[in-house]
């Protein structure tokens, strides 16, 4: 029987290092592996013995692309442990910060990492030759997202202003006001982004996924809510470990996460959108329906449209928060460490990011567990590849290979994140 292999030794336009290996015999796909060879990084081990207050800055270093997500999941977990609630303006500011990260990360992925696949370019820089104006506008939009993060929290990568209890300093009205002009422009640009990505062509590929995301009674989810799915999951985040399990697959330095009862699941923009469509503002719902997206989307290639929809949402939400902003009386609420366990789960650009800490009486960390979104999506990505290759077997190798890469990029995988927590064999020299 004819043997065929599709191999990519170094996946590109993803964050971190991984390889892809697919084998076929005749019409049958016999093996699919996403090999994650990124060097292991021992973050959970490093957290042991550190002070609770260090968690936001240390865990941020797991990922340079979504540091705000790590900071938010860790502060929420600590506040949960200490029985503190951060509300009002401070909560709004956190949401604003997260909007900045969503914009920056989504625009990076949509235009710089994913769009080149749809238009057939090696990179956005190659693409800029023919689509100079599009790339320039995308960079301007990305910059507007980054500006939110750096204004509010000091710098765009590894912001320095996030602490357990709130912020070190609240921004002045003028500082935030300075963002308005670019954000007003961004509103139009983000709508254009939605319409533009909706007009791309997509492979006919749908699957019946189990989507998992946060759901909040009043808002499109960001930092708070319950964990829900389209197959009946409905739990407080504190029950995460009762329903999800991390598994070690031998070909990967990342752990894979599965639902104990049903196996693989899907997190990220598609899941958020499908489970929270009704929480989007009316104008965005209308736009989504107008461009033919529907209330539910099961084609992962269309993640590019949904990231654009979420970008528009984040710009609109940022404008709302800034326009109603009055500086708080204090930048943070006091916290009192105690022996406890705390959970935090927030919606990183790539999906739910779960943190759990066991703390000693003096506030030092006894145990840390961190489950990043990409680790949760890995089994689903492999399964997509299996089905995709089966469905599109007839394509010539080079085309099939590129489309498989694109299928991986649908998830905007962050491989650096997914390998942060390994415990491994040590090679003594």
């Amino acid at each position: 029987m004819k043997r065929r292999t599709i191999k990519v030794d170094e996946l590109t336009r993803v964050e971190g290092e991984g390889a892809m290996h697919i084998e076929m015999r005749g019409d049958e796909v016999t093996d699919v592996k996403l090999t994650i060879y990124e060097p292991p990084r021992f973050f959970e081990g490093f957290m042991q013995g550190r002070d609770y207050s260090e968690a936001p800055d240390i865990t941020a270093r797991i990922c340079g692309i979504c540091p705000v997500a790590y900071q938010m999941s860790s502060v929420y977990a600590m506040e949960d442990a200490f029985g503190v609630e951060v509300d009002g303006v401070l909560r709004e500011l956190r949401r604003l910060l997260y909007c900045g990260e969503w914009i920056e990360s989504h625009v990076l992925h949509v235009y710089l990492l994913h769009l080149p696949d749809f238009l057939g370019f090696e990179s956005a820089i190659h693409m800029a030759k023919d689509h100079g104006e599009t790339v320039a506008k995308a960079l301007r939009l990305k910059k507007a997202g980054n500006a939110i993060v750096s204004t509010l929290a000091g710098r765009e990568i590894h912001p320095i202003n996030v602490k357990v209890g709130g912020f070190y300093r609240a921004p002045t009205k003028q500082e935030l006001g300075g963002l308005l002009e670019e954000l007003e422009w961004s509103l139009g640009m983000a709508e254009e982004m939605v319409r533009f990505t909706a007009g791309l062509s997509f492979p006919d590929f749908e699957k019946d996924y189990e989507f998992v995301a946060l759901r909040h009674p009043e808002e499109y989810p960001c930092c708070e809510g319950k964990l829900v799915s389209n197959r009946g999951l409905d739990i407080p985040i504190s029950e995460f470990r009762e329903h999800f399990v991390e598994i070690h697959e031998p070909h990967s330095t990342a752990l894979h996460c599965k639902l104990k009862e049903r196996g693989m699941y899907f997190v990220g923009p598609l899941a958020r959108y499908n489970l929270n469509f009704d929480k989007l503002p009316e104008n965005i719902q209308e736009l989504a329906l107008e461009i033919g997206l529907g209330k539910t989307c099961r084609n992962p290639f269309k993640g590019i449209i949904i990231r654009s929809v979420e970008t528009l949402y984040a710009v609109q939400e940022a404008l709302r928060i800034i326009k109603s902003y009055e500086p708080p009386a204090v930048a943070s609420v006091p916290v009192e460490p105690r022996e406890s366990v705390g959970h935090g789960c927030t919606e990183a650009p790539r999906g739910i990011l779960y943190h759990r800490y066991e703390l000693a009486e003096d506030g030092s960390i006894r145990h840390a567990q961190i489950v990043p979104p990409t680790a949760q999506n890995l089994p689903t990505i492999e399964d997509d590849l299996r089905q995709y290759v089966t469905q599109f077997m007839a394509l010539p190798d080079s085309e099939l290979k590129w489309q498989c890469e694109q299928a991986v990029r649908n998830y905007d995988p962050c491989i650096s994140c997914s390998t942060h927590f390994l415990k491994l064999t040590i090679d003594r020299k």
Partner: protein, 261 residues
């Protein structure tokens, strides 16, 4: 395309991707930079990969696996100028925390593919393994400094990178000293300049993410911090974050720990 333009390569070792992302975060400069160089190898941004030799190579991340010890040698041989970017690459980064603990603490699972999961007991700077033409500090690097270094390398001149401390930058920025005025713990006096003194401007002490400046005078700072009532454990924690493996910080931490035992 771009055949006669200088070739730029970006390589990653153990890291969070933040420093190389700084390049993509140069929204205003990115297309101009891309017009001046041929981006020959930059997997985070492009499928295209052109073999070396490269005119300028940027290296992010620290050395933590036996394979990487060899990989960096090959990269050096293929690079005319090699610049290391960020705390991971210049001091071993946060991963250097493993250098001071029994690695067995982190060991528990044996994997089926040892060639990809072996790891060293230490996380070390790139310059511990190969000669490096310039080291740019920060966790992450300052993107404007990154552009400056790139330009300097392309034009064959010395990068204009200030060598003073964060304290100097606070003065320039007009920030009132958080240590003097509020008694906050701050590593500004011993930390390499470059960030623009961000933390004190946000009402917190510097935590040293740019690493020690060349002439860091650690002992007086340790005494000062103790005088402010900062517990020895917390002083030690301050010295062991993103540049824990940088010699002055490591020595000062040991000193603090020794006097407290």
């Amino acid at each position: 395309m771009a055949n006669n333009r200088p070739k730029l390569a970006v390589f990653k070792f153990a890291s969070c991707d933040g420093c190389q992302l700084s390049l993509l975060d140069c929204e205003d400069e990115l297309l101009a930079v891309a017009g001046k160089v041929h981006i020959a190898h930059f997997p985070e941004a492009s499928r295209e990969s052109v073999r070396g030799p490269y005119d300028v190579t940027l290296v992010e991340g620290s050395i933590t696996t036996p394979d990487d010890v060899e990989r960096i040698q090959k990269i050096r041989r293929r690079s005319k100028m090699l610049v290391t970017i960020g705390a991971c690459a210049t001091s071993g980064g946060i991963q250097a925390l493993r250098n001071f603990r029994d690695v067995k603490e982190f060991t528990s699972i044996v994997y089926a593919h040892p060639e990809y999961i072996r790891t060293l007991e230490t996380s070390t700077a790139i310059a511990d393994h190969i000669p490096v033409d310039f080291e740019l500090r920060g966790c992450p690097v300052n993107k404007y400094q990154l552009i400056e270094v790139l330009n300097a390398m392309l034009w064959g001149r010395k990068p204009q990178i200030e060598s003073g401390s964060v304290c100097v930058e606070c003065k320039r920025r007009g920030t009132v000293c958080v240590m003097v005025a509020q008694g906050m713990a701050c590593l500004g006096p011993v930390t390499h300049a470059g960030c623009g003194a961000i933390c004190p401007a946000y009402n917190r002490g510097c935590y040293g993410c740019f690493g020690p400046q060349e002439t860091a005078n650690m002992d007086p700072l340790s005494e000062k911090l103790a005088g402010l009532g900062v517990l020895a454990t917390n002083i030690a924690r301050l010295y062991s974050t993103f540049n824990a493996g940088a010699e002055p910080f490591e020595k000062a931490r040991r000193q603090v720990e020794a006097t407290n035992n």
